[in-house]
Amino acid sequence: MFEFLLNPTFQTWIAQGFLLTVEITLFGVLFGLGLGTLLAIGDIYGKKPVKAAIAVYVEFFRGSALFAQLFLAVYTIPAILNVQIDHAILAFLVFGLNSAGYQKGYMKGAIETIFGDQMQAGLSVGMSKIQTLRHVILPQAYRIVIPSWTNEFCSLTKSTATLAFIGFMDLVGAGRSILVYNLEIIPVWIVIGAIYFVWITGFSKLMDIIYEKKKIPGVELLMQ
């Protein structure tokens, strides 16, 4: 059943596919974390037009299907601008921007959980709002947001499977290529599924351990 795993070509495809999946996932969640933080701060401190722009951004990326966003990026945007853009760049960007849309919510929740008294305390020792954000609030926010971030990581990884359908050789792409030659369908998808499973579950477990170590005793995200 699983003989196809012995084929070196197939092995290369799987390995490369896995690599691409990992790359785009990590880029997406980290870019999303950075941009998400900025959006969250903008939402807390910004004036009405800024808040409105952020709301539109978030609603767009959270409200529409990822597939639609990918197609928009890969087909529509180049057509409108009349330029050839490397599909890889566009795809990476979509995942990053998409993740930022979700992570803005998590970061905002984390910041607001901590905000009240810690901002007061920071101001009381003479620090400015920005200094307090940087030295007091964000360090704590990043720690309590870890469970949500890990969740986002899981979602993002699973959604990268869409890449196979816009012409990329990710893990699912590898599976489809193998199936051109291999007759047995079920084993291939079981293997591909298992690889995702191990990667996602392993990484989550790692983040759980890190969270246990780094968490601030007594402070947790008060969010549903």
């Binding site: 609603e59 767009f60 959270r62 409200g63 529409s64 299907a65 990822l66 597939f67 639609a68 966003q69 197609f71 928009l72 087909y75 529509t76 057509a79 409108i80 899981c154 990884t157 699973k158 959604s159 990268t160 499977a161 869409t162 196979a164 359908f165 699912v172 599976g175 199936l179 369908i185 079920i186 998808w189 079981i190 591909i192 599924g193 995702y196 499973f197 191990v198 996602i200 579950t201 989550s204 549903q224």
Partner: protein, 217 residues
């Protein structure tokens, strides 16, 4: 094809999108609610629920769709060979895993005292769950359920990869060829998804907040 014709073509796919997501959502309730209570109140079987949740957290829906439709489908043509069935099977079970987590959090949020109070007036464990816990659990979970539902609407788009179902996303990709247009279909599709997800999540959230205030949560 002009914009309006494309729009109509896309709109014709919306009912299918909605039926996939609604049916999957209800499968999610039917699976997730009991599992949540089992996980909380019958600890021995808990690991089964954990395994179930872990699998759906760790394997992409797309892989499952491909596995069941193309892999299992040929052996069971009337069920797994049917695109709609596979769609609600995969998305419904996925939603069940998500909802199981949601309800678990809500059970903890509602609190054990409610169960104890229920049993103190003579209700058996499962009757107390039915009459006292479940109504409060739903109340508590409205926000999370709202976003779960929005998620299902968006994930229904995955279904286009197994062909066969002319829902919104599939129609958008079709228009790329039939109308030779790469701009309008995708812009319209994105907007339609937003139109579908925004109101529901928004209202469920408001409704939940209002009901919570009535009870004084």
């Amino acid at each position: 094809m002009d914009v309006w014709q494309q729009l109509i073509f896309l709109l014709e796919g919306v009912p299918l999108t909605l039926s996939i997501s609604i049916v999957s959502f209800f499968i999610g309730i039917v699976v997730g609610l009991p599992l949540a209570f089992i996980r909380v109140y019958e600890k021995e079987v808990g690991f089964v629920v954990d395994a179930y949740e872990k699998i759906f957290r760790g394997v992409p829906e797309i892989v499952l769709l491909l596995l069941f439709y193309f892999g299992v489908g040929p052996y069971f043509p009337s069920t797994f060979g049917n695109a709609f069935f596979v769609a609600i099977f995969v998305l419904g079970l996925r939603s069940g895993a998500d909802q199981s987590q949601i309800y678990r959090g809500a059970i903890r949020g509602v609190g054990d005292e409610q169960m104890i109070a229920g049993m103190s007036i003579g209700l058996s464990k499962w009757r107390a769950i039915w009459h006292i816990m479940i109504p409060q659990v739903f109340n508590f979970s409205t926000a999370a359920l709202g976003s779960e539902y929005a998620l299902l609407i968006k994930d229904s788009a995955y279904v286009f990869i197994i062909g066969g179902l002319a829902e919104l996303m599939k129609r958008a990709t079709e228009l790329k060829y039939t109308a030779g247009d790469v701009v309008t279909p995708f812009v319209l599709a994105a907007l339609l998804y937003i139109l579908l997800t925004f109101p529901i999540a928004f209202w469920l959230d408001r409704w939940g907040n209002r009901r919570k205030k009535k009870i004084g949560l």
